[in-house]
Symmetry: C2
Subunit: 236 residues, 2 copies
């Protein structure tokens, strides 16, 4: 598979791991990777229905520790121009359906594709990482709004399943496990799905996709048994 | 709220509870409620990607114990006529997005609304119960296919969240709890959401909605604190 050589993408399973602050586990890596004095934050996924203003405070506070400024896209009169002029972009987590619906409605999907293909570094967490895959068809989120399409940005030649959870052998609950859901997905879709556990992220640069963090990730390819990818391993 | 006096609906959280067979916990009640010698089964939600034929074997085997025949809608040349002529309808669980997409594509949504308003008994489990609410916006399923709408059959003046799970106080996982997801839903939608725990079901008849089973259900109304509804209690 060919990954665009200009892509510089950091796609994290989660913004926060248990027992640590927002972005704390990944902050140093993110600052180095994004290599920007100012980051454009896209808060459209609105976790817990937070306002754009409230939500933007979280990355502002985190990145300020490293002397990096964060501005929310809602602060700009022209969001398209804000993306075109950004040094680096961070798309935060929350509800993937809401994120995608808002981006389509504001006609920002193509703009994001263009700037990232031109080399603007992109960071996503959770819903923002779902967006880097081919579709949002493997999100864990509730479909609280109806987007005009499930097509995502397609930077990666597969789908992401963030917050990947292994089946609990002791569960008495009859809802589907994550693995069962991904297998259902493969009855109707061909692309691979990468289950990214909390604390893992993908780093895309120089035409390569690397798994980072200390955990393995679970790769589901249609018609094959799932396999574990080791940290540091090149994926595709 | 007015519930149509002709509605005879049984909406179950799940088809199967821990440690018992398919429909076992609800079979007696279902047979009595549906009051039919033959039931039309709608297998479109295809759990685990099962074929219509394979999936239909499950309710066939269950209802056969009570001398009730089950025929899958795929066995009929004209699915619309099959619904119009059915003594009773059972819509099985699986993937809600797939169920709704298939029903819209086959133009069966309006037909279902018409026959149920004319008094045909309707039973749903899981995805089939999501369908009885206003929208599928509170399904737990993965959006493996893109339906033309999230609008459901709207028999109930609220949404169902099946397989409702209480937050696990010991979890270290950062994915949203069910309650957080429903609260996000209420930032963008007005209708109430009823969290139906596994083993609970709603019985709708004589213009009333009753909670059945031994567990309470959790009712989320926009802008209010959630409350627990006791079994036997009339809802709306």
């Amino acid at each position: 598979m060919n990954i665009h050589p200009n892509y510089r993408i950091l796609a994290a399973s989660t913004s926060t791991i248990h027992g640590s602050g927002y972005l704390e586990y990944i902050l140093e890596e993110a600052v180095e990777f994004l290599n920007a004095s100012e980051i454009l934050f896209i808060p459209y996924a609105r976790p817990s229905g937070l306002s754009y203003e409230e939500y933007t405070l979280a990355p502002q506070k985190a990145f300020a520790q490293k002397g990096v400024e964060v501005r929310g896209i809602h602060e700009f009169e022209n969001p398209k121009a804000a993306i075109q002029n950004a040094q680096a972009i961070f798309v935060g987590g929350g509800n993937t359906f809401l994120l995608v619906k808002t981006l389509y409605e504001l006609d920002l999907m193509e703009t994001l594709k263009t700037v990232v293909a031109n080399g603007t570094p992109y960071m996503g967490s959770s819903a923002g990482s779902n967006l880097t895959g081919m579709t949002i068809g493997t999100t864990n989120d509730m479909p609280i709004v109806y987007p005009p399409s499930f097509d995502a940005l397609g930077f990666l030649p597969f789908n992401i399943n963030p917050h990947y959870l292994d089946p609990d052998p002791n569960s008495t609950h009859k809802g589907e496990t994550r693995e069962m859901r991904i297998q259902e997905f493969h009855h109707f879709n061909d692309q691979a799905v990468l289950g990214l556990r909390e604390g893992s992220w993908l780093e895309v640069q120089n035409g390569e996709i690397n798994l980072k963090g200390s955990l393995t990730a679970r790769l589901f390819e249609k018609g094959k048994s799932p396999i574990e990818i080791a940290p540091g391993q090149v994926i595709f």
